[in-house]
Every structure is written in structure tokens, then in C-alpha cells.
């Protein structure tokens, strides 16, 4: 065969792929022969004829192929419709077909209102569920280590203070020696140090002083060099260090000669002996490991540094067995050392659970239950909408039943339609959750200085997707199957058949009334609180700092320390604080000399984030108020340009004296008239009942300043007390300085350099502009605000749409009655009055129930539930729901009045 012919044949074969397989198989060869004859004719006639032939064939094949496929599909569909069931080759299972899915998609487009409102509601509920699932997945995660589920954490729980006692060096040694059901028992202590690499200024890092057993337990070999070994734990041995892969890459540019190199941690120099592989972060998110060299002999019981203990369940041992063994050791310790151990109870848990040891066991199941409840509430609302829509399709359903479609078949179809809606919504919900999770991840990573446990992943896991899919199916059951079952029930079916035949209409008076009442009650009860909380959250999330926060650079100043031996504690800390005071004074002096830096001040914390304490005023009954207490430099108010409204600023003599300056908000609370000279004192919060211990000395108010940076966080209070302090009085302290160039962060390398030069043990944490500090705090509020706003809007929309559907449905149900009454000569206005009075009765009942529930909640939470604006919000929401309900009744009522009596008698609904 000539090349040209072969090529033509190949092209034709490719074109034939546009045709159904059957045609290709039966006539393919013949078609080629025919075409080939034409081709030969055309070649004889000239190039133009060949071109025309190809053009005609290509267009013809394309059109013909498309037509053939459409015809084949139509024939299939027609067949399915007429029979009411589906041929097995196209079924998806349980009698469902792809057609049902397509129909479901079409329904989404046909009823955009239902799609948007219902979809949004389901999406929000699913997003909350997915976020919760992902959170709990992170909590109940297993470590990504070999047999990571057998790695455990052991802690000593203080039953008096209800928290973890971490000074357990003695206990650790006894557990290590005696526990048989736990292997590789080890411990670590976190050390904060400056990592100083030649040629750069120090950077604070968290170092794990860890037992060599950790590497044995993790079953992860070193990537380069070696891990820590037991000999390293010997006191006085050469100081060695193992570093993480990422740190090796980032700080040492992947130096292949890293093993054997010296690196400086604060004042100490360590020799690198190994690099761990990428992703290894045990015990939490560490990238530097030094040997654990603590000796219990240096410390008394319940003294010394805080440590954390871990281990791996021995082969064949269960966590319950280990727990029992541990409990026995705990009892013995309590008997042997009653002074320190009487109220301590050791406990064991899966390793990741130690991060949440203060959480009660029932909290998560409860949260899950709440999510399911939320989903049920949302889905019931959507179900009402779907129910109302299904009602408009009852003829279709009846006809299908008459044609032989089984009840199961119809229910399946409605389920699939609902599934399409809930799946699309679940997809949107999952996207929202993924977005929120990524945000939460970056906020958390920022708040924790990138110290997020190595086993937590802020992505959407396969498990989350499966969970969301399950929620979508559950939603579809509520939304689709429940109304469908009711609609295809025998009683209703007979009613439907009558309806089609012109008989009586359906009546579900009681159920509908209950639904309307519940709907309104729910909205009225829940929405005011949501609106109030949402408004507050948004207000805090976007609050303005109230001063030029972007001009200030701030950092926490820390200094390396060892936990001193018990015998040397006081001497050590005295020396430590005095050294810190000296170094801090030196730093402030050096910064004051820096060009472009002004107003260097030292405070306890950044402004706006003062700790909260209760105060009372002298001779002012028993009134107490929560206030923020700022311990500040005497130049604090000048540095932030805070005007003094009356009285005076701090003098050097105020340091350590019993004088305070308060802000305007507190002054208003203290009293009218002259507040200056009055005295306040701090009140301890009920840790002791001895009245003498409860109260501190009285402080005299010597000045009033205007409110300053006070509304950044809801937990903070607007009222502030300021005490003067000398630099060095607090540890750790916050350094704040104004940078005149206007770009404070550009000064941070210089700041680090100055600090490290003064002493490598001085560390700067969180070097940020004040604005960043405040925005960071706001980040969480902003996410919360958005989430709540979305939730509120979707609940409101759903409630309104559900109510609208219910009202118009119930009034529509009465069209026939209305028509007959019109025929019998009833006055339209009296009819309207009867319709509306019934609607109004249902709505009012709902509002009353809702107000009752909201008031009860408000009363129970002392006004917190609605943020003290309960009355206004309640009235607003109640009015809104009433308006929606009545509006929904107007349309059907008017249609009812226009109906012709004969039509009313014929028409079922």
C-alpha cells in the first residue's frame, strides 16, 4: 500500500473514534473501502476535489459522530424514564443512577435560593466539624515514628493545684529503675539559649537537654555523625551537641564538615557530633540536642529544674498495665515522702496527649456532640426548605409511583439530590476549614515561635476528608431522606393521589405549627448572643492601638540561667538578678547612645497587655474591680506621649514607693470629684482565706493619665493602674524603644549585635514592632470574628428562609379552603385577618419561647450571654423573624383570594 493511502487510512481510523464503538466495529472496514474509492476518484479529479472530500468527511464524521452519541444517550434515558428503574450497567448502587446525580445538579441551578442558603448553612456546619475533627486528630495523633502509638509520656499530677509538677528528677530516676512495662524511659529539659554562629549575632533557640534513650526510643539513626549516647551524660565529659537537618541547612548552609565543628550556645561552646535527618523534631519541635547531665543528688525532692519524662511501652505491655505499675510506685512515694508526695499522682498517657493534660476526658466527645447537634439544626432547616420544594413536586412523585417506581427508588432519588447539595456544600465547608486551619497554623506558629509539635500538621488530612464525606452523607440523610420518607408514606401517598385527582389536600397542621414555633424560637434565642459576641470579637480584632505603635521596636530581654542546686538557690538568684540589672542598665545606656533611637524604656510587658489584678478603693464599701497593672519605667508616659490629665508624672522617688498613677477610666470608677490622694490596694484572688494575707498595702493615687492602648483584648480591662519601677526590678522585662527612622525592624540586627556583645547570655525574644505585637494578639480574634459572622449570617439566613418556606407552604395548603370561603361570600379582609392571625399566633408563640430561653440563658450567665444588650438585640431579632414570617404569608394569601371557586374545588393545593 502506498504511503499516502496508509496515512489516509490512519487519519480516517482516528476520525472514526468519534463514532460509537458498535458502528466502528461493524462498518469500520467497509467505511474505509468506500472512502478509499472516493479518494481515488477525487485524486483523478485534482487537488481541489481531494481537499473537498477531506473537508466533507471531517465535518460529516464530526457531526455524525456527535449525533450518534446524542441519539444513543437519549434512547437510554428514555428507556430508563419509562421503566422507572435503571439498567444495571449504569447504576451506582441501591438503585441510584448517574442521572439522579445530574438531576441533583440541575436542581441546584434551578433553585438558586435554596442552593445558596441551604448550601451555606451546611458548609458552615461542615467547616466547624472539619476544623474540630482536624484539631482532635492533631490531639489524638500518633507520633510519626516507628510504632509511634506505643510512645508514652509520664507526669506527676499535683491534685492540690490541679496541674503538672515538673520538678520530678527524683521520681524520674525511680521510674527509670523500677518500671518494667516501659522501656527506653528518658527525660528532657528545655534550655533557652542564644545560638551564636561566627559572624552573626545571637539568635534565641530552644535546646533539649535530653537522655540518650530518646534516640533509641525514636528508632531514628543520625543523618550524619552520631546521636547522643549514654557516655555523653557523664558529668564533666566533653560538651557535645547534635543538630537538626533544617538548622544545619539554614544556619550552617549544609556545611559537609559540620561534624567536629564548634558552636556557641550562650556562654558555652559545644562540639557537633551529629546531624539528625530532616523532619526529626523529638521531643516536641527541637533542632538542638545536648546531653542530659542533671544529678538528683544536687536537688531535694520537688526541687530542681522542670523536666518531662517519656518512654516506650515494653513489648506486650499495655498502657493500662503501665498505669497500674506507675500508680503503685506513686502510692509508695506518697507513703515514703508524705511532705512532698502526698498529693502527687503519677500518670501515663499517649505521648501527644501530654500537650493537653489539663483537658478533661469528656470535653472532646461533648464538642463532637455539639457539632453534630449544630449540623442537625442546620440540616433540619435545610430539610424544611427541601420539604417545601418536594411538596411542589408531588405530582411528579405520584405519577412516578403510578408508573411503578418503588418507594425506595423515589427516596433514593431525593437522597441523591440532597447528597449533591450537601456534597457541594461540604466541599465549600472543607475549603473554608482548610483556609481557617492554615490561618490558625500561622497564628499558632507565630505565637509559639515556630515551636509547633512535629507531629501536628495543619493541612487537610485524608481522615478529615473522610469525616467531611461522612458529614455530607449524614446531612443528605436528614435533608433528603427524612422529607422523602414522609412524603412517600402510605397515608400521604393516598392523600397525594387524591390531590392529583382533585380531592382533599394534605394536612400536617400540628407538625408545621411546631416547626414554625421552633424555628422562630431558635433564632430568637440564639441570634442575639451570636450578634453580640460577633460584634465584640470584630471590634477587638480590628481595634486601633491608639498611638503610633508602628514607630516602636519591642523585645523581651532574657538571660541564660541554670537551675541552681537546692543548697545554693538564694545565692544563685541574687547574683543572677543583680547581674541582669547591671547588664540591662548597660544595654539601655548603649541604646540611648545609638543615633536614631529615643525613649528606651523598660516595662514588665508591652503596653496594653498588663496582667489583671483585682483592686479595691479605701472607704468604698466592698466594691472591687479588675484592672490591668502596668509596672513601668518612670519615663513611660513621656515615651508614648500619654498626657497627664491631673496630678503629676512619676518621679524617681516613686520607684518602690506606695504611689500609683491611674487612667481616666479607672478614675471614673473610683469616684466623682477629686480622686487624687485617694488610696487603692490589690486583692489576691482567693488563694488564701486569711484576711491579712489577702490584702496588700495601700497605694496613693498621685496622677491621672488619659486611657492608653487599652482596648486591644476582651480579656483585658479598660481600667489601668501604673506603678513605677526601676530598670532591673523585673525579670524578664520588655524593652521598648522609638526608632526615629520610621522602620523599626531595620534596627533589630543592630539591637541583637549590641546585646550579644554585652554578654552572649543575654537573649532577645520576640523582636517586633509594637504594632506587630498587637496585631498578633488580634489575629486570633479576627479569625474568630469571621467564623462567628459567617455562622450568624448563615443561621439567620437559614432561619429566615426556613420560616419563609414554612409560612408560605402552610398558607398555600389553605388555598382551597380560602377559595371555597370566597365562593361562599366571605369578605376578603376577614379572610386575610384569619390567615394572618393564625400566622401571627404561631410566630408570637415562637418569639415568646425564644425570649424565654434567651432570658433564662442571660439570667444564668449574669448578662454575659447577650453582652448586656439583650433587650435591644432580642427585640430586633424578634421583629425581623415576625416580619419575615408575615411577609411569607402575604403572597400565598393573595393568591388564595384570587383563586376561582371552581379552581379551588378542583385543585388539591
Amino acid at each position: 500500500m502506498a504511503d499516502g493511502v496508509r496515512r489516509s487510512q490512519r487519519v480516517l481510523r482516528i476520525l472514526l473514534l468519534a463514532y460509537p464503538k458498535r458502528i466502528r466495529q461493524e462498518h469500520g472496514d467497509d467505511m474505509w473501502l468506500t472512502f478509499e474509492r472516493h479518494l481515488r476518484d477525487a485524486r483523478r479529479a485534482g487537488r481541489g476535489a481531494v481537499f473537498n472530500l477531506w473537508r466533507r468527511e471531517i465535518i460529516g464524521l464530526w457531526r455524525g459522530g456527535r449525533r450518534a452519541r446524542v441519539t444513543a444517550r437519549k434512547r437510554q434515558h428514555a428507556h430508563r424514564r419509562s421503566v422507572g428503574h435503571v439498567r444495571s450497567e449504569n447504576t451506582v448502587g441501591a438503585g441510584a443512577s448517574w442521572l439522579d446525580f445530574k438531576l441533583g445538579l440541575r436542581m441546584l441551578i434551578k433553585y438558586p435560593g435554596l442552593t445558596v442558603v441551604g448550601g451555606l448553612g451546611i458548609a458552615v456546619a461542615v467547616a466547624i466539624g472539619a476544623a474540630l475533627f482536624a484539631t482532635s486528630a492533631a490531639i489524638y495523633a500518633t507520633l510519626p515514628l516507628d510504632e509511634g502509638d506505643r510512645v508514652v509520656a509520664i507526669e506527676n499530677w499535683d491534685r492540690d493545684w490541679n496541674n503538672q509538677e515538673r520538678r520530678i528528677l527524683h521520681d524520674f530516676v525511680s521510674w527509670r529503675d523500677e518500671l518494667e512495662s516501659v522501656d527506653d524511659l528518658g527525660a528532657y529539659q528545655d534550655l533557652e539559649r542564644n545560638l551564636i554562629v561566627e559572624g552573626t549575632s545571637g539568635k534565641p533557640v530552644t535546646v533539649a537537654a535530653i537522655t540518650a534513650s530518646a534516640f533509641h526510643l525514636a528508632r531514628v539513626p543520625a543523618f550524619m555523625g552520631r546521636t547522643l549516647v549514654e557516655e555523653d551524660e557523664r558529668r564533666g565529659g566533653p560538651p557535645v551537641i547534635v543538630i537538626g537537618y533544617e538548622l544545619w541547612q539554614n544556619r550552617f548552609t549544609g556545611d559537609p564538615e559540620i561534624v567536629g565543628r564548634n558552636i556557641r550556645l550562650g556562654r558555652e561552646v559545644h562540639t557537633v557530633v551529629g546531624v539528625m535527618p530532616a523532619g526529626f523534631g523529638f521531643p516536641i519541635s527541637h533542632s538542638l540536642w545536648v546531653p542530659f547531665q542533671l544529678d538528683p543528688l544536687d536537688y531535694e525532692r520537688r526541687d530542681g529544674p522542670g523536666i518531662r519524662v517519656f518512654g516506650r511501652l515494653a513489648a506486650g505491655a499495655t498502657i493500662e498495665q503501665a498505669g497500674a505499675e506507675l500508680a503503685a510506685l506513686g502510692l509508695r512515694a506518697a507513703t515514703d515522702f508524705p511532705d512532698t508526695h502526698a498529693r502527687l499522682a503519677p500518670r501515663i498517657m499517649s505521648y501527644p496527649m501530654q500537650m493537653y493534660d489539663d483537658m478533661e476526658g469528656w470535653e472532646f466527645p461533648l464538642l463532637y456532640l455539639l457539632v453534630v447537634l449544630l449540623l442537625v439544626v442546620v440540616c433540619v432547616n435545610v430539610a424544611v426548605l427541601v420539604y417545601a420544594r418536594t411538596a411542589t413536586r408531588r405530582r411528579e412523585i405520584t405519577v412516578r409511583s403510578a408508573l411503578g417506581a418503588s418507594r425506595r427508588r423515589i427516596v433514593t432519588q431525593l437522597f441523591i439530590e440532597a447528597l449533591v447539595l450537601s456534597s457541594v456544600a461540604a466541599g465549600v465547608g472543607l475549603a473554608i476549614a482548610a483556609l481557617a486551619f492554615r490561618q490558625a497554623g500561622s497564628v499558632m506558629s507565630m505565637l509559639s515561635n515556630n515551636f509547633i509539635p512535629f507531629w501536628i500538621d495543619f493541612g487537610v488530612s485524608a481522615g478529615t476528608v473522610v469525616y467531611v464525606a461522612a458529614l455530607a452523607v449524614f446531612g443528605a440523610v436528614v435533608v433528603g431522606v427524612v422529607p422523602a420518607l414522609q412524603f412517600t408514606g402510605r397515608r400521604v401517598q393516598s392523600g397525594l393521589q387524591h390531590a392529583v385527582a382533585g380531592g382533599s389536600a394534605m394536612r400536617f397542621g400540628g407538625m408545621w405549627t411546631a416547626m414554625i414555633v421552633l424555628q422562630v424560637a431558635f433564632a430568637v434565642a440564639v441570634l442575639p448572643a451570636a450578634v453580640s459576641v460577633g460584634r465584640m470579637t470584630v471590634a477587638y480584632g480590628f481595634a486601633d492601638p491608639g498611638f503610633a505603635a508602628d514607630q516602636f521596636l519591642t523585645a523581651r530581654l532574657l538571660m541564660d540561667y541554670e537551675v541552681p542546686r537546692s543548697a545554693e538557690t538564694d545565692a544563685y538568684w541574687n547574683a543572677f538578678y543583680s547581674r541582669h540589672r547591671e547588664l540591662q542598665a548597660e544595654l539601655v545606656r548603649r541604646l540611648d547612645d545609638e543615633p536614631g533611637v529615643t525613649d528606651v524604656i523598660v516595662t514588665l510587658g508591652p503596653p496594653g497587655m498588663e496582667p489583671i489584678v483585682r483592686i479595691e478603693v479605701e472607704n468604698a464599701a466592698d466594691a472591687q474591680l479588675r484592672v490591668g497593672v502596668g509596672r513601668v519605667d518612670i519615663d513611660f508616659f513621656d515615651a508614648f506621649d500619654v498626657p497627664v490629665l491631673s496630678g503629676r508624672r512619676f518621679h524617681p522617688a516613686d520607684v518602690g514607693a506606695t504611689t500609683v498613677i491611674i487612667n481616666e477610666s479607672l478614675a471614673q470608677w473610683v469616684g466623682d470629684g477629686n480622686v487624687l490622694g485617694r488610696r487603692i490596694r490589690f486583692v489576691n484572688r482567693g488563694l488564701t482565706t486569711n484576711p491579712d494575707e489577702v490584702k496588700a498595702p495601700w497605694y496613693e493615687i498621685v496622677g491621672i493619665v488619659s486611657d492608653f492602648s487599652s482596648q486591644m483584648e476582651p480579656d483585658r480591662t479598660v481600667a489601668k493602674v501604673y506603678q513605677a519601677m526601676a530598670p532591673g526590678d523585673v525579670y524578664p522585662s520588655t524593652l521598648t524603644m522609638r526608632i526615629e527612622s520610621g522602620a523599626p525592624l531595620t534596627f533589630s540586627p543592630r539591637l541583637a549585635e549590641i546585646t550579644t556583645t554585652i554578654d552572649p547570655a543575654l537573649r532577645l525574644d520576640d523582636v517586633l514592632t509594637l504594632e506587630q505585637v498587637m496585631r498578633e494578639e488580634q489575629g486570633g480574634w479576627r479569625i474568630g470574628g469571621w467564623a462567628l459572622a459567617l455562622l450568624t449570617v448563615s443561621v439567620l439566613l437559614l432561619s429566615a428562609a426556613g420560616l419563609y418556606a414554612l409560612m408560605s407552604f402552610t398558607v398555600t395548603q389553605r388555598r382551597r379552603e380560602i377559595g371555597i370561603r370566597v365562593a361562599l361570600g366571605a369578605e376578603p379582609h376577614s379572610l386575610l385577618a384569619s390567615i394572618f392571625s393564625r400566622a401571627l399566633r404561631q410566630l408570637t408563640l415562637g418569639v415568646v419561647v425564644g425570649i424565654g430561653v434567651a432570658s433564662l440563658l442571660d439570667w444564668g450567665t449574669a448578662g454575659e450571654f447577650t453582652g448586656g444588650e439583650g433587650a435591644v438585640l432580642l427585640a430586633g431579632v424578634a421583629a425581623f423573624m415576625l416580619a419575615v414570617g408575615l411577609l411569607a404569608a402575604v403572597g400565598p394569601a393573595r393568591r388564595g383570594l384570587r383563586i376561582h371557586p371552581t379552581e379551588a374545588l378542583q385543585d388539591g393545593g
Binding site: 500500500m1 476520525l15 472514526l16 468519534a18 463514532y19 458498535r22 458502528i23 461493524e26 462498518h27 472496514d29 467497509d30 467505511m31 473501502l33 468506500t34 472512502f35 474509492r37 472516493h38 466533507r56 468527511e57 471531517i58 465535518i59 460529516g60 464524521l61 457531526r63 455524525g64 459522530g65 449525533r67 450518534a68
Partner: protein, 126 residues
């Protein structure tokens, strides 16, 4: 046997194929050639179109396998088609339907001499 009327009206191509086959059994190429020539090129379908139409006619029982025609070059057997008795009935029914239409058009004076001459021009002149 189905009612031939149920399949009416036929597409022009289907009718032409049936008419061609009513004269004699034929293969694809021959059918296409005959249709094109008889309509003066007005109906000049692509190969695929013809085979789809033939398949449809076969599905409806109007045409059938005519046995294998003479081997083409290269020894491949070429399939030929023939009209079935039912196909004849349908073609006849379609022809009757067209005659009725023509009668109707004539009644309405749509087929006067002037109209017929343009028709003649169009079929034979161009």
C-alpha cells in the same frame, strides 16, 4: 410487523438510500455515488453519515445484509445492502406522504409553471 407510518417522515438521505436500494442491492460506495448523481450533488454525504444512516435503517428493519459483494482490491470483502419488504413499505408510505404534500401544494397553487421552472433550473441547471 410495525406500522410503517410510525417511522415517517424519513430524512432525505434515508429516503434516497431506500430508493437506491429499491432498484438493486448495492454497497456503500455505489449507494453514495447513486444518491449524489440522482440529486445532482445536492445530497453528497460523508462516508460516516451514510453508514450511520444505514445502521439506523438496519436497526429499524428497513434494510438488511445483502451478502458480500465482489472482493475489492486487496481481497477485502465489501459489504452490500438490500432493502427489506418492510423497507419497501416504509419507502412507499413516505412516497405517498410526499405525493399528498405535493397535491396539497398544487391545490394551494404553489406548484404553478413559474415555480416549477425555477425548481427545474435548480435541479438540472446548476
Amino acid at each position: 410487523m410495525k406500522d410503517p407510518e410510525l417511522l415517517l417522515p424519513l430524512t432525505p438521505l434515508s429516503l434516497h438510500l431506500l430508493l437506491a436500494l429499491a432498484a438493486s442491492e448495492n454497497h456503500g460506495y455505489g449507494l453514495m455515488k447513486e444518491v449524489r448523481e440522482r440529486t445532482n450533488g445536492a445530497i453528497n454525504p460523508a462516508t460516516g453519515t451514510v453508514y450511520l444512516a444505514l445502521q439506523r435503517l438496519e436497526d429499524e428493519g428497513l434494510v438488511g445484509d445483502g451478502g458480500l459483494a465482489a472482493p475489492a482490491e486487496g481481497g477485502v470483502q465489501r459489504r452490500s445492502w438490500r432493502i427489506t419488504p418492510f423497507g419497501r413499505q416504509v419507502a412507499a408510505a413516505e412516497a405517498r406522504r410526499l405525493v399528498e404534500l405535493v397535491e396539497l401544494a398544487r391545490d394551494r397553487d404553489l406548484l404553478n409553471d413559474a415555480n416549477l421552472s425555477t425548481l427545474t433550473e435548480r435541479t438540472h441547471g446548476g
